[in-house]
Subunit: 145 residues, 2 copies
């Protein structure tokens, strides 16, 4: 099977070429060679990019993701890390759920002012005490175009 050029990889992975170059520079992917100046990629890079997308979606940083690949390129996924991340996400889900319910209540609440609504005030206290509010997590950014 013919190797892919950067644009083909980009199309299959749904990423711009600039991102692929950036990922290569970061050691997240590797090209198999060059045709003149142009990088050529093995088709398997697409699967690897899917793996990277998964990691990003799960809230791992690119650096963390890079660490999940053995030097030979095979994914060495640490089950403990995965479990820990799942637990993180679980906490985040709980916080978001509480917040969502609070927002819904605030939207529906008929108290003359939100400030007079006990539910809203409770939400407010939770938010400012940091009980809601996430730490050092970056949500994945998938830019439009």
């Amino acid at each position: 099977m013919r190797d892919l050029d950067i644009t083909e990889v980009g199309q299959r992975a749904g990423l711009p070429a600039s991102t692929l170059r950036f990922y290569e520079e970061k050691g997240l992917i590797a090209s198999v060679g060059r045709r003149g100046l142009k990088r050529t990629f093995d088709a398997r890079v697409v699967e690897r990019l899917a793996l990277i997308a998964l990691g990003r979606a799960a809230g791992f940083s690119l650096e963390e993701i890079a660490a999940m690949f053995a030097p030979d390129g095979s994914p060495r996924i640490d089950r403990e890390l995965l479990t820990a991340k799942a637990a993180d996400m679980d906490r985040q889900i709980r916080r978001l759920t509480a917040l969502r319910d609070g927002l819904r209540h605030a939207a529906a609440c008929t108290a003359p002012s939100h400030m007079e609504c006990p539910t809203f005030r409770r939400l407010l206290r939770a938010a400012s005490s940091g009980a809601v509010g996430e730490r050092k997590k970056r949500a994945p950014q998938r830019r439009a175009k």
Copy 2:
């Protein structure tokens, strides 16, 4: 009741003075005056900061939050916006939940390699298709220290 100085406000709101100056500059809060060079704040600013923290936790940007205050300073919270945000959060919660379950499965899965696990492959497809993966949302950052 005595007006507060910036450090007192910071203590009550759990924010450093630099953040308060930054918020003032952005028009999110206002000081009531100066004692010499030093800003003085009305105690009500603490409640306003709680409101801001709530907005941040819900995923609103500072700019969006600023737009939620009428020029006179009273919160003019748009119920439709709140409902929309709650729906956003709901979608996000669903995505995170799917992802969390996938991660847990991947951590527990006994297939010789993740690549041979159908559940994992499904997760991979979802991640790279963008079905998981959030858009243009920035999670609140509350730094340690």
